[in-house]
Point group: C2
Chain length 568, copies 2
Amino acid sequence: MAQYNLKKHIENARDKKAELVIKNARVVNVFTEEIEEGDVGIADGLILGIGDYDAARVIDAKGAYLCPGLIDAHLHIESSVAHPSRFCDAVLEKGTTTLICDPHEMANVCGARGIRYMLRETEDVPLNAYFMIPSCVPCTSFETSGFKLYARDMEEFLSHPRVLGLGEVMDSVAVVNCEETMLEKLALFEGGCMDGHAPLLGGDRLNAYVTAGPRTDHECGEYWEIKEKLGKGMYILLRLGSVCRGMDGIFRRIAEEKLPTRRLCFCTDDKHMEDIRVEGHMNYILRRAVSNGIDPIHAVQMATINSAEAHRLERIGAVSPGYKADLVLFDNLKDFNVLSVIVGGKPFVRGAEHSLQRMEGIYDSVRLAPRAPDCLQLRVNGKTPVLNAVDNELLTHLTMEEVPSKDGLFTPTGDLLKLALLERHHASGRIGLGIMRGFRIHNGAVASTVGHDSHNLVVAGDNDADMLKAVDLLEECGGGYVVVSGGVALAKLPLPIAGLMSDLSLNEMEERLRQLLDALRGIGEWSGESDPFIWLSFISLPVLPNVRLTDLGVFDVTKMQFVGKGDA
Amino acid sequence: MAQYNLKKHIENARDKKAELVIKNARVVNVFTEEIEEGDVGIADGLILGIGDYDAARVIDAKGAYLCPGLIDAHLHIESSVAHPSRFCDAVLEKGTTTLICDPHEMANVCGARGIRYMLRETEDVPLNAYFMIPSCVPCTSFETSGFKLYARDMEEFLSHPRVLGLGEVMDSVAVVNCEETMLEKLALFEGGCMDGHAPLLGGDRLNAYVTAGPRTDHECGEYWEIKEKLGKGMYILLRLGSVCRGMDGIFRRIAEEKLPTRRLCFCTDDKHMEDIRVEGHMNYILRRAVSNGIDPIHAVQMATINSAEAHRLERIGAVSPGYKADLVLFDNLKDFNVLSVIVGGKPFVRGAEHSLQRMEGIYDSVRLAPRAPDCLQLRVNGKTPVLNAVDNELLTHLTMEEVPSKDGLFTPTGDLLKLALLERHHASGRIGLGIMRGFRIHNGAVASTVGHDSHNLVVAGDNDADMLKAVDLLEECGGGYVVVSGGVALAKLPLPIAGLMSDLSLNEMEERLRQLLDALRGIGEWSGESDPFIWLSFISLPVLPNVRLTDLGVFDVTKMQFVGKGDA
């Protein structure tokens, strides 16, 4: 079969047997870094060459720029809250034809089954969906996830044709300290691809970390970090998603200092569907990079061949004979507006039907213990920890304050909300309680089952009754987002897929998200531009500075210890 | 074990447990393209990092330039006529620490056994000897090799840890025409590394060729060829060995046109021991590249990390934590004189003892039929083909001439020598006879069992008696080089290893080679700077323009047909 295909492909190229031709294109050659003019012949999913071609089907590029299909070098589809097949549609429309997915969120909720689900649900998508196997499930021991993933649980994925290696190795401490269960995972994937995740790691500890295996990093927030990690052989995945947005200065610095770009790539990491649909996906990063002075062809390399090399993908990422015919036609190399997308040799057409499959253990992920009416009561005594939000940041600050109380129980005010984190995987009944300042809710509550990285149920509000109602509603629908006031749901988006993803169409999903934000604006207010649902989804991640709330209590990330167990 | 090593390596880097330190080096960082100053710590064969290190063993670089050990991206060790272990010593001294070997010559003489021999004899060498499995044995059907190698013969090598893929795919016609036995080989190595060899191939046929798999080419003699092949996704291995020397113009053009260098590499292909010892190895190419305007750091990349990427070698080719501690210290980045070499974390010391192993089928490769005294008689009648040498070139020209004869038999003169090619693998008794012009021999003969690519026995002389004596002598010693005059051997270098390589020490070998040239000068003369032994070793390769002599007769390469069967 391999030989039969080989023969056909060789003959197609030799005899110019094109099925589809793109005429009059300006082709970006990522190898010579030049623009070539000519027709691109395509057959059997492969590029035949650039020259004079004829075929039954012709696309006239009218002088537009033809680039290799774009590669997102690292992302979590789950962060879009869309089903994987619909996510693929949305990004294809923006010219992205290859994804390096890390199903870290699904694995935290559903374990190996969650990874299997993501692989299965991307089996028939038109784009190339590759996977890295999550290395840090759970992310830390300071919260309770649905599953723990050990090396032995990962073995089944080693031989999967779309699995490339080990997903972002977040627990750099475990690596550098040679913790046994981490070494087992690193040894299992030895010699394979390994993504890193090591914010601010440098010096000897970074030397130890790269020695252990990880060869990419997408957490560089500072230029010196890029410089050091690049210099130590890492591929740097420059990230521009919904959450981390400060890339302009870094792009400018790269351009000004003429940093060699061959080991620089682009990724989104986490990007919400609305942002993808409004501003774009990898094409948006291209636009921003070029507007900040990066050479357009270097930028295209960073979105294509560089990422292919970083993940050892062959015959992807260039407009070249024998390469997969994944192509995107842009209006120009400044705005990167997508005129047309070819994937696997076929023009992409939006609006395909998807038949979603219900898989056991995926649609029933919310498992809560019965709740007593007083389960959210927070007893306070003297100075109490408060989580303070910062406008437009995921950062929080910890303060110790005297807070309003009655009979020794915290009473929320307009300024101070109650925050609860309910363990939702094992029906343990464990609830972490805290107090937050940063957005206001009057007579209501907001709740979500998306809560990085363990995805417990987070609820914030100014009264226990609405908070408990919100929890009830999410339990009923298998997880999601909800806004409640006066005992009534004002808006709701069910996320029945592990409590993380919707099974609605993109348009329905967006309508519901809009309703949720409108409802929340009706009963509350917040400054800055952060989306409160996204902000809430990170309040439980005990690696983000400076203070977090998990099901085990209020956690001081700077000291790596709990400062309040909730009910003191 | 993997895990144990991993732990040790992580701890070494983290805790700076260096065994060896190189102090005061200017380190060439191939990732950032900058020079870093600092100490390089080394332990357990790996680089720990660049910083402040101390160790029991210290090398003071005194400000010299520390580069990654150099990589020869494509070579045939056999062309040096030295035993592999001694070859490794010689190139290590020049800073080469990684070889991508193609044992094409051994395979032509000894088949799979020859490949096994080369793998075994490089098992304990200090440098990294990787292998590509020869794809074209024999090279063509116009000569008789010792063995034919089919896909089924290659399977045993697929899992060898030092085998990287399929060796230079020379028979581009078979590829483009989809010949079955070629497709079988390509399919066997599908997805693996494949070296190409496609001089002057372009356009649709090149598209077909790269689609088939080969992803490197070392045959580019023209800049346009480099441009086209690079643009079609090939890595270009710029070759500077003993035979093909015209690289200066290409280096200048690359520098002038600022051609992106990330997919350009260096290789020697064929380089003789004397040339290696006198001018250098990869360090000589570096010197020539830089003297022709290539940026020194780009040149170092071309000799290191680029080649590693081309052949998917991980953790080789950079001075970076976790990388193999293969390092070379140069006086400067212009002359590239080697001050010191570290390989696998240990300083290289010349003069190691090698215990060579005799392997059955390797030391008894010369199998000739008994020869009658008249077996070299060449009957001529009218215009007869003559092979004309060109000074300093492997190129030959074909002329049809009336030649001196007596009783219908060619009689050599000072100007015209008799040339004979004796099939030496199967004792078939087949002899190709021809006439050559280009160097003179008076009263003598010169013979060799090195004859690309089938390595039959070639002998040239002005009288049959000395020619036959030379053949007898080479038969006796299992192959080699010999100069005979008046029935006596004036000088001889036995090459008992497949008739291709010596088992003498490098110094003894060179002494013999010098004696051979002196002896030949005593009885003959030639213009130009070509070594007559090397020139003779290519006279039988029926893919080099314009005319060759094989055991099947005089072959017109331009017409791809025989023009004289010898005894007409």
